[in-house]
Amino acid sequence: MTDEKKPTAPSEAVPAGSVSGIQQAPTTTPPADAGQRPGGEARPAPAAPPNVAPASPAAQQAKPGVVNATIDGIPVSVPPGTPIIEAAKSVGVDIPFYCYHKGLSIAANCRMCMVEVSNAPPGKLVPACQSPVAEGQKVTTNSPRVLEHHRAVQEFLLLHHPVDCSICDQAGECKLQDYFMEYDHDASRLDMPKWMKNKRKDLSPSITLDQERCIMCTRCVRFMAEVAKEPVLGAFGRGTREVIDVFPGKQMTSNYQGNVVDICPVGALTSRDYRFRARSYFLTATPSVCTGCSRGCNTFLDHFQGVPYRYRPRENMDVNQYWMCDIGRGSYHQLYEERVAKARVGKGDAVAAEAVRVAAEKLKGAGAAVVVSPVLSLEDAMAVMLVAKEGLGAKEIFVSGRADETGDDFLLRGDRNPNRKGVELAAQAFGLAVRGWNDLGKSKAKAVLLAGVDVPAAPEQVAAWLGGLDTVVALAANDGPVAQAAHVVLPLATHAEGEGTFVNFEGRAQRFLPAYPPRGDVKPGWFWATAIGAELGLAYRYASAREVFLEQSRRLAAGALGTFDWDDAPRDRIKGVTPLTGGTVDGRPPGWRQLVPLRTPNTAA
């Protein structure tokens, strides 16, 4: 099955979840090629069969347009054309694979996913990724023959694989490691020196290729050709000498080249930005949303002890499928670069409560212009607007945000702010008019409340203009000329340090989870807004973003957020793993532990 998959931008009318007309069976486990192994359940064996209703053969055949078979004795009913590997995943049977990827065409060259089927040519195993389920087929994935085959393929792949685990970035999320422990777990039988190739070829400023580690699955070649539409990678040579390389004279320039690092099952293609910075098994993966543009690609934010290390795309067939762009990937640097750590009044640090009091005093009755950045979450924006309307008597809000740039025809959008739609919806809900950044200059306001210091113009110019005003109160995450021009600065938490919602350009509301708690005085935007509101005399007291959302989202127009449900968050917890109290370390790497917010019960105050 070598159908050409046309990657479509998800806003076009492609039925959700369909790839070239083939319906993917719904899965409940994260894709194995995202480098995560699903945590086992804690129930002891005697295993109950997975929750597939065993239908009688007569009842199975009665349904039209569905193919019935058994996989390891478990009956499956799938749409015609479903590969065995997907049908197996839908009933909880994991078949190992390297070259298969749901978002790419099928190559079937790794030979790892071979299974026994009842209708195969005699003496042959068939690749599960390439073979569609046939009617009445009996598939066996755990017979001794199949297991020996997996073991043998694994051994062959490791024959000339360099002894690199100690220095390879992929360690901990490497399929070779996982399948070796599962199937082979035995000593090497190689009795000759390993074949050497180019070990450190920079394909671009962000990707490095190690040809020795490559297992020639050609996922990268297919990706660059089919998804990134920049077919610069190819397989050259034959046999042991086969290597992946760029075509002579070509370079990798695509905005989506970072995805090859994710899809490479081994450490052949690695990210130069991430190189040698962290070990993946120390990182905790929190489901989050990218803030690079208004598409809101779903991501995993990998972090360790309060430091973000990288973004990885999270599968969402409606938004970003399996991919994200390099601009979004690089946006994690803003989460820690030059952060405002303490509240400031004037030029010096101040106690947070004092700064809030000064801010409220300066803004009260000053006819302040409220500028809301569309990088803020929906809850932050709603809280700011609530205070603007009821505490400051504003009739309009100004939307700042990062300047528009060019988008492309795949994921990147020109609007580089994640929540513009959310800010607009919130303004509508509060009955505030929405004005652009240019209108701010025209307004005669002498006092400005900047909720978020992302500005579409040059920061120095903006700082100069702000210097001419009487009062500038800024909620700032990153320090810079704009934050330094403010008279009162309150340290704002990024989206990684709190939870909330972004509404993307389609009106889709997406929740992001908190990765690590904010340090020191840093607080989320709704907290500062509520505090200023309290100083202005308002009675709102909120303890969490959830409360803000549940109370204030009632003002939103009915159906504005579709079927969004705050509590229906993406799963982030590994079952049974004890959470660490937020803000503590215990001297050991937490690995897959999750952090909980500071206000857990039973902690020292």
């Binding site: 005697p46 002890q305 309060g306 430091v307 079952k575 049974g576 370390v585 001297g587 039973n602």
Partner: protein, 191 residues
Amino acid sequence: MSEFALQRVAERFPDAVVQGYAYRGDETLVIQREHLVEVARFCKDDPELDLKLPLSVTCVDFIDEKPRFELVYTLYSITKKHHLRLKVRVGEDDPTVPSTISVWRGMDWWERYCWDMYGIRFSDRGPMKRLWMYEEFEGHPLRKDFPLRGRQPLIPEADIQDIYRGPGPGPGSPPASRSNPPRPSQLPIVK
């Protein structure tokens, strides 16, 4: 090891037994909490079972399942030389189980351990006291949602530089930037 014990109890209390199985040679019976005491008494008094030695009661917290807690009773018969495991599932909204100290007095302190560490209440016995933690302690430490470092000191702690600090560079080091990204290499001592 035979499944004799499972059959005998299941015959006598058909509605009490939810499931019986043997894994790695250990017979296990999952029973309903209402019938716990009578099944326990039968296990002790029945001459064929004669499970007179109470080894322990423990609790397993399956936080992602309902019902959440699983109490595990391990019993032994010195004369018949067999073990039996009784399991009872209770949810977290009503973690109460009838006490078996009327059957075996040795279960007393193990039940206190279940109360202390998991918050399982045992009815038909006096007020429960904590076993290992001090009475003023809040929470039940072995539950899966109790943090690993849930310190609750009763006296104020001295202000010394200990190793349990938050992550990140301390005062005096250069601010983080793209060319000098933050690293956790300051562990274990971060001032």
